[in-house]
């Protein structure tokens, strides 16, 4: 079924905005998410297509509200859960209880 990522030719998006002198990453955590994904793919925990698929399967409203690397992190945690690497409750921050 058509997915939220498949936007080529779609109407309704605004003019393109450029960010002058944009840094490679906007926060340290973005760089960590980038590197974490590479590490997990190299180890064979999941492959790049499974990673793209996991982003595309995010609830549409969550997907649209999230930033680029927030989508990445959501896909990573989805796959870690689905692959049985971690249990869902382990992903919650200890100090949230």
């Amino acid at each position: 079924m058509s997915r939220v990522n498949d936007v080529g030719g779609m109407s309704g998006f605004p003019a393109v905005i450029e960010e002058p002198d944009e840094p490679p990453f906007h926060s340290d955590w973005e760089a960590h998410v980038f590197a974490l994904n590479g590490a997990l793919i190299r180890r064979g925990v999941y492959n790049l297509d499974e990673f793209r698929d996991a982003q595309e399967r995010l609830p549409v409203q969550e997907y649209l509200a999230a930033s680029y690397y927030e989508r990445w992190f959501a896909a990573i945690t989805t796959l870690l859960r689905e692959k049985g690497v971690v249990a869902g409750e382990e992903l919650e921050l200890p100090d949230e209880h």
Partner: protein
């Protein structure tokens, strides 16, 4: 979700996942920092600029670059093998009659191992949705007004190749050295949203 509080929450979540994975032996201590440092030291638009400048001064190199970019870029000490696996690089050359522009409509495919992280606009829905349908209008928003007689070829990076545009050499640069030419090349020129 991206305000300071949200940023500190997700920072903590990312650190938490990293420590979970370290405890399971799926991540080595310090591995993430090493990867970030290596990545930031490796890919850069300057790599693409070097390739372009060489192609401008060496027609034989330009020919090899367009026929088999992966082999040709090794001549200038670069490779597409720096990422998860070696990827095929497809270089497309602008001519007097045709301008090329690259997009990934399905996600954000880009030769990051070679050129570094892509700009946010390249990853935006605004760019990805519109440039396939109205490239002339989108390029005009970037300040690139193409002559009406110039045709536009849009390349959608929808599979395994990664793309780079070979811009046309600007007029009046006949006397410049290769490194001076490279300094003229911008990241947008390598994507196709600028002339050079």
């Amino acid at each position: 979700m991206s305000d300071d509080h949200g940023s500190s929450v997700i920072s903590a979540q990312v650190r938490h996942v990293e420590s979970l994975l370290e405890s399971r032996g799926l991540l080595d201590a310090g591995e993430i920092d090493t990867r970030i440092d290596e990545f930031l030291a490796g890919g850069s638009p300057a790599n693409g600029a070097r390739i372009v400048a060489r192609a401008w001064v060496d027609p034989g190199f330009a020919e090899r670059l367009l026929a088999d970019a992966n082999s040709a870029i090794r001549e200038v000490g670069l490779s597409m093998a720096g990422g998860l696996q070696e990827q095929r690089l497809k270089v497309v050359a602008n001519t007097e009659g045709e301008h090329n522009v690259v997009v990934c409509t399905l996600c954000s495919c880009y030769p990051i191992a070679l050129l570094g992280p892509s700009p946010s606009w390249y990853k935006s829905e605004a760019y990805r949705s519109r440039v396939v349908r109205d490239p002339r209008g989108v390029l005009a928003e970037f300040g690139l007004e193409l002559p009406a007689g110039t045709s536009i070829a849009v390349w959608d990076a929808s599979a395994e190749s990664r793309y780079m545009v070979l811009p046309r050499r600007p007029d009046g640069t006949e006397g410049l050295a290769e490194d001076e030419l490279a300094a003229r090349v911008t990241r947008k020129g390598l994507i196709g949203t600028a002339a050079v």
